[in-house]
């Protein structure tokens, strides 16, 4: 199997946050801890308003800065290429929080360690999908081999949009079907996160 990662179709996302809540349930997260979250961007003036919802979790980057900068090896690559976090090795130094350009790892204050999306490794090891994938009522999320996802969902998928870091920085294992507001640089300055 090649590099694994998420596919997200923003064109069909209705911003309901079922993915965010399903992830909280699966990982038993408290208020303030979000391993997957949904952002909302808009631009324009009523009634000509564009924008998109963006569901983000860990991008399991091929050149993850969190792994590179982790002093204990708590952040590491699993055999399947996903970025995993070993809670027992974590000392809560938060270098990964600092290093990740997507602000993915979160410091879990009451545990004094960080946490992040692990692409539901335990579920996948049991032959199931990540919780968010199976939760989405619009079926916008998938997880799997990136080449396979490209074959299935078309040649126009991107790994970066104007509001996210450049893909060349960490090589995120992320494929998105994006709309013009997320792709066209002329909208970038007009977009507001709402």
């Amino acid at each position: 199997m090649g590099q694994l990662g998420f596919y997200f179709n923003m064109v069909e996302c209705m911003g309901c946050k079922a993915c965010q809540i399903a992830c909280k349930d699966k990982n038993d997260l408290k208020v303030g801890e979000l391993f997957r979250k949904v952002l909302n961007f808009e631009c324009g003036v009523y009634p000509n308003v564009g924008g998109f919802y963006l569901s983000v979790s860990c991008n399991h980057c091929a050149e993850a800065k969190c792994v590179r900068g982790c002093p204990t090896g708590a952040m590491h690559y699993a055999e399947d290429g996903t970025v995993q976090h070993n809670k027992d090795l974590c000392i809560g130094c938060r270098y990964c929080v600092w290093n990740c350009p997507y602000s993915v790892p979160q410091y879990l204050e009451d545990k004094n360690i960080v946490g992040k999306c692990d692409a539901c490794k335990d579920l996948r090891d049991a032959g199931e999908n990540p919780a968010c994938v199976d939760a989405c009522p619009m079926r916008t999320l998938k997880f799997g081999d990136l080449d396979e996802l490209k074959r299935q969902y078309g040649p126009d998928l991107v790994s970066e949009i104007t509001v996210l870091p450049l893909a060349e920085v960490t090589k995120p294992s992320l494929l998105m079907k994006a709309n013009i507001y997320a792709l066209d640089p002329s909208y970038k300055l007009k977009l507001k996160e709402v």
């Binding site: 997260l29 949904v38 808009e42 009522p137």
Partner: protein, 871 residues
């Protein structure tokens, strides 16, 4: 508890974590439910695979009034729910989609096992029979009492009030009350606004039915009028509509807001001010008439009242729709320019839109209920149906003119493919309201206004009835005196939160503080319980025997008991049985069928559509052994799925595929031969001019409506925001408020659940330019005020909101600051007045407010608010 939990505790959880999680301050005892009093938190490091091996997936009810009621399952390990999942019982395809739970259903375990669950029966510290210090309702202390004491007190007050004042002193109904002489009923219309009686009279409910889900893909154009299924119809509707879009349907959405539905589906968005849709529709009709774009043949053959030549018998020929639109008699042609000043839609867009709906076939022209939740909302419904019919898109594949139906809503229609059976519990008539057509409980939606034996008042007159001692009798009976002493809200499971959900909460609180006794049952301290005297802790559906739930016509969900009742919570059946004993009634007469038997009956009686696509057959195979194991009465039967398999699966969904024999084109027969298949309306046709509607609305005694669609500015509508209409100088309340369905909740359910409060902050939304003009910034705490009350909320700015319009989600639990009298939660019914209209529809979407910066203490974000934990 079992070894598994011990193992997890020993290995993973530090003492500090355990204590922190178990303390009353914990947001959720989420991994809990050991039954009885031993709630304990388990750390989050539960390995999924290990849990699955030891645990059991139980179908867990999602029972709310949301329209979906989808499949959710809970993984129960040694009596503890460790996590949930949704439908994975078959491969997911657009034709045969999984019944996936929404974000709220996915938070259900945080709801059921919340630290704020009511644990014990309780009474107000300053209550005594007769009321005690009634002014302290809503702000008193709670005292824990035993079940015996609670039931004795409740029965004694009920008995005293019945004997002293009679059953008409009781407001409320339930199975128990109906056996005890009944009570006054609150009647009216909430969800469906003004649609109910319109549908009954103008169409005989013909236009309250839709074509089946797959047929929507045949449409070339789908108009969603005021509909936002992405937030108000969770489950598959938006996904289903997406399939129609992929099949080539163009979508036009009419809405004051640019909603998530607009973002995902719309090719075109039509802005329209709240409560002015009628004007927009009339202008569209005008454009069609002057350009001869309407389907005259259709109108001639299938409708009455369009023009003077086709009026129903006995009608004044001048009162025809066409001449009204043209302004023949009133001198006001309803042109796009005339409409635009009112509705805010640019005239050119009105013309384009009208041309598009007139010339694109087949078209589905569908409305939500929201535009009818307005003052004298009948006018919108009349106009919507009339304009739809002018296009002739009825009774053909991919075509239809209808309004969204509840759970089977916004993308479904056609036949019911599978359904649960009855529980076997016979319905009980309320002796004081025998005509109720919605179960034995409420005179909901269309109480028969001409029945003098129906005792009760419109929703919006409830509080005045309590405070002033009289209410409007229907059918010209004038004012009817009353002396309401008891508000009874002990009913199925989790209260009936009308103090929060009905208009004018401030007046409601006054009314609640006047009566002798308020008693509720509830799972948490929602609004009605907050203002009650005695509150009985209720079980959720997860703690009950089992139930069949349904949200759309293609699937049923068979939920089972997930855990034992928490703390001292009881089912309402148990409560009513115990109360019955104390009232000298026979509990077995009120509940002749046990909960287990009821569940069994609903399974045994479940039916599925047959191969022929027309008849029905039993769904479930039940053996003699099953019956014996269940310990119930029944007969073995042959069905399509074994009982045990159905319970494990938790769902039965009938597969569909294009070309199957389950397609339905609503109204085909009527269109093919209207004479042989007349509609159950006065004329047998679709009634553009409907005297029956006028007469029935008049009989309610609240407002009147002409027999054809006419625009008459509603109370608290757009026109009311002005001091001077001509100069457009704004008045005291310059903004129109719409009370949207909001993602955090299903109405008022889930408002207390932390992950949902985090995901949905209950923001008050304005257009940035409106805010700028008032000197307001994103994140400011703002004061929103109407004639009826004040709220404060965090301000959120977005260009998706039409200038002049503001929005706030309905359903937040009122939280009044006792010092300022201001609601902090953003309960929209603080702002909406209890105004009497039509068939008793609550006119929430015609509400006007003012907004200013709040200079008092800023609000803490909702996700940080302390939960209402009593003991």
């Amino acid at each position: 508890m079992g070894n598994f939990i011990n193992g997890v505790l020993n290995k993973k959880l530090s003492r500090r974590e355990f204590l922190a999680a178990s303390a009353a301050g914990a947001a959720s005892l989420a991994l809990s439910g050991c039954g009885g009093n031993n709630l304990a938190a388990v750390g989050p490091d539960v390995q999924a695979a290990a849990a699955e091996k030891k645990g059991k997936w139980v179908t867990a009810a999602c029972w709310h009034n949301c329209g979906g009621r989808c499949l959710n399952k809970a993984l129960v390990v040694d009596g503890v729910v460790v996590r949930q999942k949704t439908d994975d019982t078959h491969e997911d395809t657009p034709d045969y989609p999984q019944q996936r739970g929404c974000h709220r259903g996915r938070a259900q375990r945080f709801h059921v096992f919340g630290a704020d669950r009511l644990k014990y029966p309780m009474k107000r510290k300053n209550w005594e029979p007769g009321g005690g210090k009634k002014e302290l309702r809503g702000r008193d202390e709670w005292v824990r009492i035993s079940w015996d004491e609670a039931l004795d007190l409740v029965a004694a007050e009920l008995k005293r009030i019945k004997e002293q004042y009679g059953n008409k002193a009781i407001l409320g109904t339930s199975r128990l009350l109906n056996f005890y002489g009944g009570g006054l009923v609150r009647w009216g219309s909430s969800s469906s606004g003004a649609w109910g009686v319109v549908q009954e009279c103008m169409t005989g409910f013909f236009s309250w039915k839709a074509n089946d889900r797959l047929d929507w893909r045949n449409a070339k154009l789908i108009v969603l009028w005021g509909a936002n299924p992405a937030r108000s119809s969770l489950g598959n509707p938006t996904y289903n509509l997406l399939q129609a879009k992929k099949a080539g349907a163009k979508f036009i959405v009419v809405d004051p807001l640019i909603t998530p539905t607009v973002r995902v589906l719309a090719d075109k968005h039509i802005p329209c001010r709240p409560g002015t849709d009628t004007a927009l529709l009339l202008a569209m009709a005008y454009h069609m008439i002057v350009n001869n774009l309407h389907d005259q043949e259709f109108l001639n053959r299938y409708t009455v009242g369009f023009d003077a030549e086709h009026m129903p018998e006995g009608a004044d020929p001048k009162e025809n729709f066409k001449d009204y639109v043209l302004g023949t008699y009133d001198g006001v042609p309803k042109t796009p320019e005339w409409a635009s000043e009112i509705c805010g839609t640019p005239p050119q867009l009105i013309r384009e839109f009208a041309t598009e709906i007139a010339t694109t076939k087949p078209m589905i022209f569908t409305s939500s209920f929201a535009p009818a939740r307005t003052y004298r909302g009948q006018q919108f419904c009349q106009a919507f149906l009339t304009v739809g019919w002018m296009t002739g898109n009825v009774g053909k594949p991919g075509a239809g003119v209808w309004t969204m139906n509840y759970a089977a809503s916004q993308s479904y229609g056609g036949k019911t493919l599978v359904r649960g059976g009855g529980t076997g519990l016979p319905p009980v008539v309320n002796p004081l309201f025998p005509d109720a057509t919605y179960g034995p409980y409420d005179g909901y939606r269309w109480a028969n206004p001409t029945n003098p034996d129906a005792h009760g008042m419109a929703y919006c007159e409830t509080y005045d009835a309590i405070l002033k001692g009289e209410y409007t009798g229907t059918n010209g009976r004038g004012k009817i005196p009353c002396d309401i002493r008891l508000i009874w809200l002990v009913r199925d499971g989790y209260g009936y939160n009308f103090l929060n959900q009905s208009s004018d909460i401030n007046k409601g609180i006054q009314a609640f503080r006047k009566v002798d006794f308020v008693v509720t049952n509830d799972i948490v301290l929602s609004t009605i319980s907050k203002y009650a005297d005695i509150v009985l802790p209720a079980t959720t559906q997860w703690e009950k025997e089992g139930i069949i739930l349904q949200g759309n016509p293609e699937a049923i969900f068979v939920a089972q008991k997930v855990c034992e009742p928490l703390y001292e919570a009881k089912t309402e059946e148990w409560m009513e049985r115990e109360l019955a004993k104390r009232l000298g009634l026979n509990p077995d007469e009120i509940y002749p069928v046990s909960p287990k038997q009821q569940f069994f009956n609903s399974i045994a009686g479940a039916q599925v559509i047959s191969e022929d696509g027309n008849s029905y057959e039993p769904l479930v195979t039940i053996t003699a052994q099953d019956i014996q194991e269940w310990g119930v009465q029944g007969e073995p039967q042959q069905g399509k799925i074994a009982l045990q398999d159905l319970l494990e699966q938790g769902v039965y969904q009938v597969p569909r595929s294009p070309g199957d024999n389950l397609t339905v084109v609503q109204g085909e027969d009527f269109i093919r031969d209207p004479e042989a298949n007349p509609l159950p309306t006065k004329s047998g046709k679709l009634e553009i001019h409907c005297q029956a509607l006028s007469d029935k609305i008049a009989a309610y005694g609240l407002t009147t409506i002409p027999p054809i669609a006419k625009y008459e500015p509603p109370l608290d509508g757009y026109e009311a925001t002005f001091e001077d209409w001509k100069t457009k100088k704004k008045g005291k309340y310059p903004f129109q408020l719409i009370t949207i369905h909001y993602g955090r909740r299903s109405h008022s359910t889930y408002d207390n659940v932390p992950p949902l409060r985090e995901a949905y902050p209950q923001e008050f939304m304005m257009n940035p330019r409106d805010a700028e003009a008032l000197g307001l910034k994103e994140g400011d705490t703002v004061l929103i005020e109407s004639e009826y009350g004040k709220c404060i909320r965090p301000l959120h700015l977005s260009e998706t909101v039409m200038p002049g319009v503001v929005t706030l989600g309905e359903g937040a639990w009122v939280e009044i600051d006792e010092e300022t009298g201001i609601d902090k939660a953003g309960a929209t019914n603080i702002l909406c007045g209890a105004r009497l209209s039509g068939q008793g529809e609550e006119p929430w979407n015609t509400t006007i407010v003012r907004v200013e910066k709040y200079n008092g203490e800023p609000l803490l974000p909702d996700k940080y608010w302390k939960q209402r934990i009593i003991f």
